[in-house]
């Protein structure tokens, strides 16, 4: 190799490293940019009262208390429905079936489910839960629809977590007189706990931020919900309506900032869990 080509290689190398640095910085900048933008636009109304007071005049004044409660209720409802289904499916796929065309089909189906746009889920939930099953616009309809939406996420992560449990530990379980279900319940699931939790937390983040399918299934009522059959308004829907209907851009930004903060906290928690697992 001549000195010229070596020098050429070196400068290409430098160029590559520089480019990849630049790209990485830009990715970080997008996140920071959005956050800074939201903080600048939204911090004015941010106060404990914003979280604890009822909205006044469609949300032009006051706080978001019922919206916050509805958001949390909606998220918990959907996870309480989705987690048992997803976990049993994941256990079935990993522990009770051999790889076959059936598992391939189920897995492929779950993956397709993950790729469906959320507004389609909204339409589906509206037709099935709201209209056909007569639940109306309600937290229950929304929770069921959101549950369908996050099922694949939880199934996928739980499956990976269960597969990562060393086979030797199952053998130890059997060698101590455990039955298959005891091995799964007492050894496999506790061992996979962190991975499963991470999946659930990621799903929680998605559920909290979901807008389209919530409008279709939970409605937009600003009242404090008193049962699962009441219509309610989630934070993302509240933000959408405040901005879209021109009610108050200031309040919209503050709502967005609060929602963003919540989801960010949840993602940080998820990352921390993964790190602790390793």
């Amino acid at each position: 190799m001549t000195p010229e080509t070596m020098a050429g290689n070196r400068s290409y190398n430098r160029l590559g490293i520089g480019l990849s640095r630049l790209m990485t910085v830009m990715v970080g900048a997008i996140l920071i940019g959005i956050l800074v933008f939201l903080v600048i636009k939204g911090y004015k109304h941010l106060s404990p009262g914003f979280f604890l007071h009822n909205p006044i005049d469609l949300g032009r004044e006051g706080g978001i208390f019922p919206v916050l409660v509805s958001t949390v209720l909606l998220a918990l409802t959907s996870l309480c429905i989705a987690v048992p289904f997803a976990l049993t499916t994941a256990v079935f796929l990993t522990e009770y079936t051999r790889e076959s065309w059936l598992t391939t089909v189920i897995r492929f189906g779950a993956e397709c489910l993950a790729g469906i746009p959320s507004i389609i889920f909204g339409l589906f939930g509206f037709m099935l839960f709201v209209v056909a099953m007569g639940m109306g616009w309600s937290i229950l309809s929304g929770g069921l629809t959101l549950a369908c939406m996050v099922l694949p996420t939880i199934i996928r992560t739980s499956e990976e977590a269960i597969k990562a449990v060393p086979g030797g530990l199952r053998q130890v379980g059997y060698s101590l007189g455990a039955t298959k279900s005891q091995v799964i319940w007492h050894i496999v699931l506790p061992q996979a706990r962190n991975g499963i939790l991470t999946g659930i937390i990621l799903a929680l983040g998605r559920v909290l931020g979901e807008t389209a399918c919530v409008i279709f299934t939970t409605g937009i009522s600003l009242e404090m919900p008193t049962s699962f059959f009441d219509s309610a308004r989630s934070m993302s829907v509240h933000f959408y309506l405040l901005a879209r209907e021109g009610i108050s851009m200031d309040m919209a930004y503050t709502t967005a900032l609060a929602l963003m903060g919540m989801i960010l906290c949840i993602n940080v928690a998820a990352t921390w869990l993964i790190a602790r697992k390793n």
């Binding site: 060393p166 086979g167 030797g168 530990l169 053998q171 130890v172 379980g173 059997y174 060698s175 101590l176 007189g177 455990a178 039955t179 005891q182 007492h186 050894i187 506790p190 061992q191």
Partner: protein, 262 residues
């Protein structure tokens, strides 16, 4: 012969042959026509090169093999005169009577205390006093008590490899087994830990007979009362350890224990 039932062997294996199924292929023979007896209170070492069927043999003795890999078995294995493969023998009960310790030290992701009481609790023992006693007895028997007695609530994964392996032995003993099977228990351990494990085996053998699969020929010579030599799915010979090492009846045994084996 020692043990509770003098005259009756604890374990009797007769004409045992075994082949495991391979998906879409011919079954693979793992054991051919093995016959072997073990009286109570003794340690039997099984030596032989890799892939000679030693581990499979061990895993058939408490029906652990069928959990992972199905196969076809002929001949009989009797524990205290009862055929363990007969329909009325509960395999879960069998695995409490014939405990197993694996080659890789493996702790369940729970405290030391919970690791040891895992088996008894599954079997329905809940009395705290009984469980406490089991923990102390078995940890003492495995020579681990002094090292961990002040931190029984520590997660067992924080122990060293040698400690984990002795914990595994204690965990097996907590089932109060009649027979303890050990599959190369020292293959991942340093010499000091190995010595401690061997010490533990010799100490417990009066209560619990052991079958020890080992790749360390000298380990067999050190701890075993009886030794069996497996080669290519067959039992070449078995007998009192001293006799087998001093005057092997078969030339292949002689070649193996003197290290002239290709």
């Amino acid at each position: 012969m020692t043990g509770q039932q003098a005259g009756v062997n604890l374990l009797e294996v007769e004409n045992l042959s075994y082949a495991y199924h391979v998906e879409g292929g011919e079954p693979v023979t793992a054991l051919k026509n093995i016959s072997l007896q073990l009286p109570a209170g003794k340690i039997l070492a099984i030596i032989g090169p890799g892939r000679s069927g030693k581990s499979t043999f061990l895993r058939l003795l408490n029906r652990l093999q069928e959990v992972t890999l199905p196969g076809a078995l002929s001949g009989s294995i009797k524990l205290e005169g009862r055929d363990i493969y007969s329909g009325d023998y509960d395999p879960y009960q069998l695995r409490r009577e014939v405990a197993f310790t694996f080659d890789k030290p493996q702790a369940l992701d729970m405290s030391i205390y919970d690791n040891i009481t895992f088996g008894p609790r599954l079997a329905g023992q809940t009395h705290k006093g009984d469980l406490d006693r089991i923990v102390e007895e078995t940890l003492r028997a495995a020579f681990l008590w002094e090292e961990v007695k002040d931190r029984l609530s520590l997660n067992a994964n924080r122990l060293s490899g040698g400690q984990k392996q002795r914990l595994s032995i204690a965990r097996s003993l907590a089932l109060k087994p009649k027979l303890l099977l050990l599959d190369e228990p020292c293959s991942a351990l340093d010499p000091v830990s190995t010595a401690r494990v061997e010490e533990a085996l010799v100490a417990i053998k009066a209560q619990t007979a052991c079958i020890l699969v080992t790749n360390i020929t000298r380990q067999a010579a050190r701890v075993a009362d009886l030794t069996a030599f497996f080669l290519m799915s067959e039992l070449i010979e078995s007998g009192p350890t001293e006799r087998l090492f001093r005057r092997p009846a078969d030339k292949r045994t002689d070649d193996y224990i003197s290290g002239r084996f290709g």
